[in-house]
Amino acid sequence: MKRSWLLALFLILGLAVPARATDTIKLGFNIPLTGDVPDLGESTKNAAEMLKKKINDAGGLKVGDKTYQLDFIYEDNESKAESALSTARKLITEDDVLAIVGPQSSKQAVPAGEASNDLKTPMMAPWSTNPNTTKDRPFVFRGCFMDTFQGPVAAKFATEELKAKKAAVLYDIASDYPKGLAEDFKAAFEKMHGPGSVVAFETFTTKDVDFSAQLTNIVKANPDVLFVPQYYNEVPLIVKQAKAMGFDKPLLGSDSWGSGDLMGLCGDDCKGYYFVTHYAAAGAKGKTKEFIDEYTKTYKKTPDDVAALTWDGTNLVLQAIQSMGKLSGDMAKDREALMKAMSGITQFHGITGDLSYPATGDHNPIKCAVVVKIDQAGKFGFFRSVCP
């Protein structure tokens, strides 16, 4: 008797789950909640939760004549390349998500992109700037500009604004993102000032904390600017040690500076330096300001560029889903249709600027970059906009 009750209960539960699943849209988030860069994961989750709440509270996402509730699944990739790969596979095959947002860093986005492309699931990498993330992968989309653009922008800025004739670079050779950026910067800078104008091109390896030998070489070469395309956890150590070596020239960074708690870790030492990024919170207007205000109210901190780009990237996926007209319920077919809808987007108005995908080739958007100066109050203030 008891057993049949249990059986009945299971049957009801079994029936209930697929019945509910038909009017939800599941998106997966492949993000670092632990490991080297947990702040990136937290920003992503914050922005995504805010978006989900906004849409679900308003009744859901309207696709054609049907309204769907959103279900976001957050999986931790531990800031590791290999975990990002298995996380992408898990989200696609076990959680049956329609599309994936993330990973954020190129280190994880490059391998995860391969898995998503092989399994024919659209993936939006909002913050990954390495060209390999989307290269020959029709199912992988990027939400920001690329390293190949950021490197020349940094070189152009160093030349025009900082009047640099000699530059030095210090970067992590074991990580895709800094390595790609460092090489692009070097190529662009030497194109402007002739070969040999990058007087020091020093490397270190992930998890290093002592850069004294590299900085000794850099100080000896006497550059006008030091380019450091590193993450927020390494920048403070580099900046402090450079100052301890008596280095007093400006430092120039990449968009990875703007994420996480850079100022909390770096304090006064990072003030007055510049970095290239996607958006600047200080001095924002319109839709961007609305986003910043709401985020600040909910989470008691200013959204970083990861949060802003996640907001845009996720919105872009949702806009593409709406433009599909209807969902068939056949996952493979829907994923394919979504990929086509996303690549068909010619104009998307995001909070980090307008974005469009080129008609042919890899899915790399056309966007402008912003150079930010860290002011004396420790705020990231808009300094100059640099367009392709």
């Binding site: 050779i173 390896t205 402090k240 100052k243 870790l265």
Partner: protein, 307 residues
């Protein structure tokens, strides 16, 4: 050229100081118990976090005593950090190692237990404090001195001084005091020593106190030099310090000290003249060569059993 060389020697002395301080802890415990305490790198990490909380507790206007100057906070933080880290080390000994020793199990199991304890400390910290990094407060503002084209900071000199002082202190404790003699006696013959009326457990606890206290000291100065803390900071440096202790001749205090500086020196010099990817390759090749020529390490003596 000469200036760069001297600069890099200074860099190497600073970096090697940390390896030395941690290697001393490995060496003490191994010397007495023949136990490779693989949790030692994580005790170092715990030490850095303890230093962080101690300093935050005293510093700033919310501190216990408002407006305390940085050097005074440091003077308070040194003994407190060493004491609290020693408590953590002794707790590990009481909870994990002593019950196993009482049961007389094979030493291999104790080593594996030590590995697990290290992981528990890492992940316990991760669960307790979260994965966000902590910024260590500035206690003493960095002063930069230029001497003939070579740049040194007050911090660099302090770190090197602390490492040398710690070495001398341990050398005196182990060689000149009664409890040091008891430590050496246990290392010589653990089964005969209790028959002579020496309280073995007390001596072992004292060994853990010493080793962990110096790991705590290393953690404090490491956090002051590299002021970004994360729960995994002790893992890699702990492994490398262990290798330094082996190369120096594990169980020998001068060996651990020299091994730490040797490793620091090789690492910095390789980075100064080669791409950084070669660092560990060249560094460990050199260490391997040293071990193959002198399997007991630089200062080690041959022993009957080793793990």
């Amino acid at each position: 050229m000469l200036q760069s060389l001297i600069q890099n020697v200074l860099n190497a002395l600073q970096w090697g100081s940390f390896y030395s301080l941690i290697a001393l802890g490995y060496c003490l415990v191994y010397g007495v118990l023949m136990l490779i305490n693989f949790a030692h790198g994580d005790i170092f990490m715990v030490g850095a976090y303890i230093a962080f909380f101690v300093c935050s507790f005293f510093l700033g206007k919310y501190g216990l005593i408002g407006g305390l100057p940085g050097w005074m906070v440091l003077a308070l933080a040194v003994p407190l950090t060493m004491l609290l880290t020693a408590v953590v080390g002794v707790t590990l000994e009481r909870v994990a190692y002593r019950p196993l020793r009482r049961k007389g199990v094979n030493r291999l199991y104790v080593v594996i237990t030590a590995l697990m304890c290290g992981l528990i400390l890492e992940n316990g910290n991760l669960a307790l404090l979260g994965a966000s990094r902590r910024s260590f407060p500035t206690l003493i503002s960095t002063k930069v001195f230029h001497i003939g084209g070579v740049v040194v900071t007050n911090m660099k000199l302090t770190v090197i001084g602390v490492a040398i002082l710690s070495f001398l202190l341990l050398q005196i404790v182990v060689n000149r005091t009664k409890i040091g003699m008891a430590m050496r006696a246990i290392s010589y013959d653990r089964f005969a020593v209790p028959l002579m009326g020496i309280p073995v457990d007390t001596v072992i606890v004292f060994t853990f106190v010493l080793g962990s206290a110096f790991a705590g000291l290393a953690g404090l100065f490491f956090a002051m030099t590299y002021p970004v803390l994360d729960p995994y900071m002790g893992a890699l440096i702990g492994w490398k310090a262990f290798i330094a202790a082996v190369v120096g001749g594990i169980g020998s205090i001068p060996g651990a000290f020299a091994g730490g500086f040797l490793l620091g020196f090789v690492e910095i010099m390789v980075v100064a003249f080669f791409p950084s990817t070669f660092r560990d390759l060249i560094a460990f090749t050199i260490l391997l060569l040293i071990l193959s020529i002198r399997p007991t390490g630089l200062f080690g003596v041959a022993q009957r059993t080793k793990i």
